[in-house]
């Protein structure tokens, strides 16, 4: 959640100051979200000592340094070493860890699965979340109860969600397995590669929907009623109205959620996967993050594992830059 609240106003505030001029619409069109970014007037505070502002910044900088930069540097460093499994020393091996990883067919297979998995989870979590939000937004009476029911799932911790998801796919009592059997599909999670992948996607999507739902709903409610009404007078087809007016106005929310969902699918599905494969991946599909964990903590190959996490870091870095450069450009921030 903290990333969620940090990211959005920051990016919006940025575009706001660039456009300058009349920004009076911004308050309304994005409801609660834009409040922090909305005020164009920056207050200048004078400090008596030039060191004081740095002192105020220090706790935040310390957190970033200790929890982000330091581990990153450690990871990069150890990715060039071959660690003794029992911790008795390490040998500098240069790029060997990287070349080993990138030459490994298994690793490339996992990378391919991760890409497909991320795409599927992001797509379905976003589209189902949007669909539910649009429907919930249309409900007039009893909508509070309706929304609460939809948001509930988000309060569940990832491993618990994984467990509940596992129960859905349980060989003996799982309702989804029962349902599939009815159609002649015998789901065997943990045994069959495809079945396991399927249930991983379903549970991961299911877990992420409430989050997307909340943001889409608040985005929808940030669209001024009068704009919808003007559209109702201008355009008969509700479906067309949605594509031409509602969706473009939701674009900032959708873009933000896209980044969050990609990150979620890449990293935060760890708990779900862990419960599904029960620490012993064997033939089952896993994602890159889980592979990092398996090699590092189960295989005790700290060097290879570090190399993998550096690669992962680069992938996410490139992906985020790509998203901001090419997709955000098409997003209309009001």
């Amino acid at each position: 959640m903290s990333t969620a609240t940090d990211l959005l106003p920051a990016s919006r505030g940025g575009t706001g100051t660039q456009t300058g001029g009349r920004r009076f619409g911004a308050f309304r069109f994005f409801g609660g979200q834009s409040k922090s970014g909305g005020e164009g007037v920056a207050k200048r505070v004078q400090f008596s000592s030039p060191f004081l502002p740095y002192l105020f910044l220090a706790p935040q900088l310390a957190i970033i340094f200790i929890f982000f930069y330091w581990p990153s540097v450690q990871a990069i460093q150890s990715s060039f070493y071959l660690e003794d499994p029992f911790g008795f020393g390490s040998t500098f091996v240069g790029m060997t860890n990287y070349t080993d990883v990138l030459k490994s067919g298994e690793y490339l297979g996992i990378a391919r699965f991760t890409a497909v998995f991320t795409a599927l989870v992001t797509f379905f979590a976003l589209s189902i979340g949007l669909l539910l939000a649009v429907k919930a937004d249309g409900v007039i009476r009893g909508n509070a109860a309706y929304k609460t029911l939809l948001i509930w799932v988000y309060a569940i911790a990832p491993p618990v969600a994984g467990l509940i998801g596992m129960m859905f796919f349980d060989q003996h009592i799982g309702p989804i397995v029962e349902l599939a059997r009815w159609f002649g599909w015998d789901i065997k999670v943990g045994l069959n590669y495809f079945d396991t992948a399927f249930s991983m996607v379903v549970v991961s999507v299911w877990k992420q929907i409430p989050y997307n739902f909340i943001f889409f709903l608040s985005g929808l409610q940030g669209i001024p009623v009068s704009v919808r009404e003007a559209a109702a007078i201008d355009c008969r087809s509700g479906f067309r109205r949605f594509w031409t007016v509602i969706l473009p106005l939701l674009a900032p929310t959708a873009f933000f959620l896209l980044i969050i969902n990609v990150t979620y699918a890449l990293f935060d599905t760890f708990g779900v996967i862990d419960v599904m494969v029960k620490d012993k991946a064997a033939n089952n599909p896993i994602t890159l993050v889980y592979k990092v964990y398996m090699d590092g903590f189960r295989g005790n190959d700290l060097g290879g594992s570090s190399a993998q996490s550096v690669i992962l870091m680069l992938i996410v870095f490139v992906l985020t830059i790509f998203q901001f450069r090419f997709i955000e450009r098409r997003v209309h921030y009001n």
Binding site: T19, F24, V227, A230, I233
Partner: protein, 370 residues
């Protein structure tokens, strides 16, 4: 272009809250009707029922020859201008204007022509490629108007379109709306809470109060013959003075003063007397007069509003600023300028003889009772 008939229309919300109570208005083709009233009087609800943004609980609305109760808003052949403009923020001005036409499958060439014409009329041609956020309030207002014009609808619906503008711009836009409506001859329904806007724009005014129509009429008729104390106090600035009086045997008693009404006394007994601030004047030397105790003075430049009391009842008088003020004043009023209302119902009480046939204004005869 079409006539609009609103017949016994009511709006009932959940919990039996009746926002509009059996309202009927016949709007002629090309007429400019202004719905005016305080907030919560149901004027916006009524407009939104005509637009199709609210369902009609009872009664029928007819545009042209078509009952439109169950017609989709987009099919009603109306265009609406909203208070906060409701422009599509992600579209350029051109697309904002063209959107409604595109959805109606209008040929591209005709869209271009209509947008160009509307843009020329409203002088927004230089901004066609801009997004609404790059426009000022007045420009946005014009774009909102343009979006209504390009559609060439049977009727324009305006929902307080000028309330978000500053005072100066409001006056100039007011003139522009009036001119545009006359030029296009499109039937218009305009909602406002500003009585001045209502007076200046309307062909006919509809004064609403608590979901009911208090009065329908041309602005000057409403001003000069308000149908109730509500209309009297709502239309006109400053509001009409309303004081308590008593009619006995053809003369009006206000405190210690008695005013002879002759044969023109409407009723016997207690009445509410209405006096326009500008109808009261200073009494000449030797003329019968009432003592007006001055509380304070408001200088408006062209006018001077003097607030005070007659016989303990609060009153406002509009005087020319040239006249010297010194302490309390002796004031008088022409008898035919008095309005009478029932103290119980607030309804206007007509006098014995008709207004038109009145003798030339007579000065009132004042007799001090004691």
């Amino acid at each position: 272009m079409a006539a609009i008939t609103i017949a016994e229309v009511s709006k009932i919300y959940h919990g039996n809250v009746e926002a509009v109570k059996s309202v009927s208005i016949d709007i002629e083709d090309g007429e400019f009707i202004v719905l005016v009233g305080p907030s919560g009087c149901g004027k916006s609800t009524l407009l939104r029922m005509v637009a199709g943004l609210e369902t009609i609980s009872k009664g029928t609305v007819t545009i042209g020859s078509r009952v439109i109760n169950d017609v989709d808003p987009a099919e009603r052949d109306i265009a609406m201008v909203f208070q906060n403009y409701a422009l599509y923020p992600h579209m350029t001005v051109y697309d904002n204007l063209a959107y409604g036409l595109k959805n109606r499958k209008t040929p591209k060439a005709e869209i271009d022509a209509r947008v160009a014409e509307a843009a020329r009329m409203l002088e927004i041609e230089p901004y066609l490629a801009r997004k609404p956020r790059a426009l000022s309030g007045g420009q946005r207002q014009r774009v909102a108007m343009g979006r209504a014009i390009v559609r060439k609808p049977a009727a324009f619906l305006f929902d307080e379109p000028l309330s978000n503008l500053d005072a100066k711009l409001r006056v100039s836009m007011r003139g522009e709306i009036k001119r545009l409506q006359k030029r296009l001859g499109t039937t218009s329904l305009y909602v406002t809470h500003d009585q001045l806007e209502a007076m200046t724009l309307a062909d006919r005014l509809v004064v609403l109060n608590g979901g009911r129509i208090e009065q329908i009429g041309r602005p000057l008729d409403v001003y000069h013959r308000p149908a109730s104390t509500f209309v009297a106090s709502f239309i006109g600035s400053p509001a009409m003075n309303l004081i308590k009086g008593q009619i006995e045997g053809g003369s009006l008693q206000i405190g210690l003063y008695r005013i002879e009404l002759g044969s023109r006394a409407p009723v016997e007994g207690a009445v509410t007397v209405g006096l326009r601030a500008e109808d009261l004047r200073l009494a000449g030397v030797g003329e019968d007069a009432m003592l007006f105790q001055v509380d304070y003075v408001e200088e408006l430049g062209a006018q001077r509003l003097v607030h005070g009391t007659i016989e303990g009842q609060p009153l406002t008088i509009a005087l020319s600023p040239e006249m010297p003020l010194s302490g309390d004043l002796a004031v008088t009023i022409a008898v035919d300028r008095l309005h009478f209302f029932s103290p119980e119902t607030g309804k206007r009480l007509e006098r014995g003889t008709s207004f038109a046939g009145d003798a030339p204004a007579q000065n009132l005869r004042l007799e001090t009772a004691s």
